[in-house]
Each structure stands twice: as structure tokens, then as C-alpha cells.
């Protein structure tokens, strides 16, 4: 119940909803109270905090249930531009072997978009780029583009709008001189 309240308040406080913006302070306050009840304000090494966290994760109840809520998240894409010593460029996307992993990858991109801590986001992008470089070790460098696809509304789709793509950030990575197994 407390986890549900924490996540619901968090969603209401950080995303556009039908509620007025003035209510955001109330949602933020509610989230903080719920987080405190869950021990999240305690020190990292506190036994109570760790006990609650381990229990919540073990029982699968560490997160709320706001799937596709309050709105369906944007569709994110990542594209890698491979640059070769002879000046060639090629484009790649992360590859998975089946649909089940594909769904998981989409979830990863959603999470990546929400990471506001830049060094962590860059590290995650580097790991993705490295997995592509391992398949193309003769590439000089890789530029990773991360963007958001704007999907058309039904009326826009009927008018022929197929959507657009907005670049959110890009990183350059070079793996020259690296061994294949050391990102």
C-alpha cells in the first residue's frame, strides 16, 4: 500500500495529469511521507532500511503499478553510427534474438530516457555502444544517437502524418586499442 502511494504520488507530481499544477506540492509531500515510511530517508547502512528494501524486492512489490500511466510513455530509439578508418560510415541498432528480449530492450530505453544523472546515462550508452562495437571491432569510433519518436494521433495519422524523430542526446565513443572484453 505504501509503495503504491509513493509511486502514485510520484507519478502525479512529475508528469502531466488532469490535476492542477498547484496540487504538485501536495503530491510531492505525500511521496516524501510514503518514502520515509519505507525507510528511504534512513542511512544506506541502516538495518531497517535494508530489511525493508530486501523484503520489497523479494516479494516483487518494490514498485507501484502505474503501467502506461498516466499516459503512454514516448517511444525512444537508439542508433549507432559506426565510423571506419577508411571514412566509411554504417548504422546499427541494438540487436536481440527474439521478441521477448525486444520488449525488455524497449523498457531499457524508457529507463535511459529518465536517467537525469548524466555520467550514469553516458555509462549506459557506452555499454550499449560497446556491445555494438564488439560486433564491428574494425570500426574507429561510434556515435550513439538517442532520440524520441513522436507518434501521430489518430487524426494526424489519417492526414498522412507518420510521426517524427527528435534527437535528445548523442555521445562519441572510441574503443580503439581496447581488448574485445574490456569496455
Amino acid at each position: 500500500m505504501t509503495v503504491c502511494l509513493r509511486d502514485t504520488f510520484s507519478i502525479f507530481a512529475t508528469t502531466p495529469t488532469v490535476f492542477p499544477a498547484e496540487a504538485n506540492k501536495f503530491w510531492q509531500g505525500g511521496e516524501q511521507v510514503a518514502a520515509a515510511v519505507l525507510g528511504e530517508r534512513l542511512d544506506d547502512s541502516n538495518w531497517l532500511r535494508n530489511g525493508i528494501t530486501v523484503y520489497l524486492h523479494s516479494a516483487g512489490i518494490e514498485a507501484g503499478y502505474g503501467f502506461f500511466a498516466p499516459n503512454v510513455p514516448a517511444n525512444y530509439k537508439v542508433v549507432f553510427e559506426l565510423r571506419y578508418p577508411d571514412g566509411r560510415t554504417a548504422y546499427e541498432i541494438p540487436r536481440v534474438s527474439n521478441a521477448a528480449t525486444g520488449v525488455r530492450l524497449a523498457g531499457l530505453l524508457d529507463q535511459l530516457a529518465e536517467v537525469s544523472y548524466t555520467p550514469l546515462r553516458e555509462t549506459m550508452m557506452k555499454i550499449l555502444a560497446y556491445s555494438v562495437w564488439q560486433e564491428h571491432p574494425d570500426a574507429n569510433s561510434i556515435r550513439a544517437y538517442f532520440g524520441r519518436a513522436h507518434l501521430p494521433r489518430p487524426a494526424e495519422f489519417e492526414r498522412g502524418d507518420k510521426g517524427s524523430y527528435e534527437l535528445l542526446f548523442a555521445y562519441d565513443f572510441s574503443f580503439r586499442g581496447r581488448q574485445l572484453n574490456s569496455p
Binding site: 488532469v18 528494501t53 502506461f68 500511466a69 499516459n71 527474439n98 528480449t101 520488449v103 525488455r104 530492450l105
Partner: protein, 326 residues
């Protein structure tokens, strides 16, 4: 006149059969088996530090450590095995086979409790070591597994019941565990419905449209879907009402069947239209285990089998009722 405490006891400890547990055990074990098989090809890529996986296990586990160092993860097993000279690749292969075997034992109900604990642990290790690649289905599988692990095992269909001759547990204990699952599902749907209702897209149908055309869930082409555009607002408002109203209408005897069928239909539709088959399976399993055991195809229990455990006088009403619903 019954006191509040008696009413609460009747509500929390109704006499119940183990039918719900059979459904939950078999459904969730199947879920884990399919989960394992679906990741068979990518298993080493996902978890090995030496492979070209899309995200490394060490990053997931480092992010996990930011929450707590005591949450289970595959890194523990890899580190432990390395002390005995077992390579990461070998350990990962062993872990996959162990998860599959534990889930299979759980499916047939052999060493039910041990299999449940092993499945919970190994599934948790796998899920937490790929925390960047997890989604709702993993949480719901964990929820189902956790309930099985603490439930009064074995149930009547488990191999343990006849091969190892393990006695069946108190009917009121069965009722209590099922009641907690029922309350949990009510919370899940209520909060899911409330948060959806707060978004404008769920009132004008845009969210249903976006959900269906958004890769990788776009199994149906937009050209096919657009024909049904007038249905989107009705469908999306129905989803909000169905989820938010779940705690009330699933509890009322007159509307329970309708609500249960509607929720199962919703999950079937999500599974088929968006390719979320595992998500559909686990949600249907949880719903049928919690609220669907009164249907005739599973209520084969006789009065004789009910009396394995001596009835308690104070639970008379719930025992007669057979379901414990107030």
C-alpha cells in the same frame, strides 16, 4: 452479535480449499519455465561480463547496490563459484538449468517448498541482475512466487501429497493466504486504474492508440487500427473503470463473475494485440487463483475432503459459505 474482531477473523481466515494454490503453483511455474526458455538464447549475453550483451550485469548490480547490498543477484553466485574454480560461463549455464529444473519441480509439486524457495531465489537473481531490462511481468512473477513460497504447501495435486505423504494444511490457513492475494490484487488494479485515470490520454482514447502503435508492441498495423478509432475512447475508459472499480465489483457476489471475465478478457487482448503473452499469463493466473476458484471446472471438492481439518466454530459462517466472502 458478532464483535468486530470476530468479523475480522472471519474475513481474514475463511475456510478454503487449496484449489487457488494449485492454480497459482501451476500457472506461475509455467510462467517461469516459459521465461527461462524465452531467454535461453540471450541468457549468456544478458548475464556474462565477457559477452556483447546490451547491458552488463555489473552495471545492473551496481545500481542495485545503491538500494541495498543484500538484494539477491547472480554476481553472488558467480563470485561464490569462482572460489572453486568454476567459470562464469559454467555458472550461468548451471543457473539457467537450475532455474528451469526448480520451476519444473514446482510445476509437478515435487519437493514443493524447496522448489518454491529455489525458484524465488534464482528468478530474483536473474531479474535483479538485469534490472535495466525488466518490466512489469517480472514483478508479477515475483509476487506469485513469493505467495507460493509462503503458502501452505503442498496442495492436493502436488506429487508431494501422494508420493511423500505430506499432510494437507489447515483450511483456514489456506483461506488466509488466498485472502491476502485477493487484497493485493485489489490494490494492484485500484492504483493502476487511478494513475491511468489521471492521464488525459485515457479519457479520449489516445493512450490505447499509442500503446498499440508503439514499438515493440505494434503487432497490428496503424492502417488496421485506425478503422476502429471510434472504439478507442470506449475501450480506454472501460480499462480505467475496470481497474479502478476492481476492489468493489470483484468482491460483490453479483458482479464478481462479470468483472473477472472482463479482466481476463482485457489481459488476453493485451497479450494478443501487444505480444505481451507472459504478462497476460501471469495476470490471468493471479486473477483465477484469487477469485476464479468458484467456477464449476475447479470446484470438485466434496464435503468429505473439506473435513480433513476440524472446523472451527467461530468460522462457521465462512465455512458454510465455502468461500469466506462476507
Amino acid at each position: 452479535m458478532r464483535t468486530l474482531r470476530q468479523r475480522l477473523e472471519e474475513f481474514l481466515f475463511p475456510a478454503d480449499s487449496d484449489t487457488w494454490l494449485r492454480i497459482l503453483r501451476i500457472g506461475v511455474a509455467l510462467q517461469v519455465i516459459i521465461y527461462s526458455l524465452s531467454l535461453r538464447v540471450d541468457w549468456h549475453d544478458l548475464f556474462s561480463l565477457d559477452r556483447a550483451g546490451v547491458i552488463k550485469r555489473d552495471l545492473s548490480e551496481a545500481m542495485l547496490s545503491a538500494q541495498s547490498h543484500y538484494i539477491p543477484r547472480l554476481g553472488w553466485l558467480v563470485d561464490f563459484a569462482s572460489r572453486f574454480g568454476v567459470s562464469e560461463q559454467t555458472l550461468l549455464t548451471l543457473a539457467w538449468w537450475s532455474l528451469l529444473s526448480a520451476a519444473f519441480l514446482l510445476l509437478i509439486g515435487l519437493f514443493s517448498r524447496e522448489a518454491a524457495i529455489a525458484t524465488v531465489f534464482l528468478h530474483l537473481c536473474a531479474v535483479k541482475s538485469t534490472s535495466g531490462l525488466t518490466y512489469g511481468v517480472d514483478n508479477f512473477t515475483s509476487i506469485g512466487l513469493f505467495y507460493i513460497m509462503i503458502a501452505p504447501l503442498p496442495d492436493r495435486w502436488a506429487v508431494d501429497s501422494w508420493l511423500r505423504n505430506i499432510a494437507r494444511k489447515d483450511n483456514h490457513l489456506q483461506g488466509f493466504h488466498r485472502r491476502i492475494l485477493q487484497l493485493h490484487l485489489c490494490l494492484i488494479y485500484f492504483f493502476g486504474g487511478i494513475t491511468k485515470s489521471a492521464g488525459t490520454g485515457w479519457w479520449d482514447g489516445a493512450s490505447i492508440w499509442y500503446a498499440l502503435i508503439r514499438p515493440p508492441f505494434n503487432l497490428l498495423s496503424p492502417e488496421t487500427l485506425i478503422v476502429w478509432k471510434h472504439l478507442f475512447p470506449i475501450l480506454s475508459i472501460s480499462v480505467c473503470l475496470l481497474e479502478t472499480g476492481y476492489p468493489l465489483f470483484i468482491w460483490l457476489r453479483k458482479t464478481r463473475t462479470l468483472w473477472l471475465v472482463a479482466v481476463i478478457t482485457m489481459h488476453l487482448a493485451i497479450g494478443l494485440a501487444m505480444g505481451l503473452y507472459l504478462f497476460a499469463l501471469v495476470m490471468i493466473t493471479l486473477n483465477v487463483a484469487a477469485f476464479g476458484t468458484e467456477f464449476s471446472f475447479v470446484t470438485t471438492e466434496t464435503n468429505a475432503t473439506r473435513e480433513v481439518v476440524a472446523p472451527r466454530g467461530r468460522f462457521d459462517r465462512a465455512a458454510i459459505d465455502g468461500t469466506g466472502y462476507l
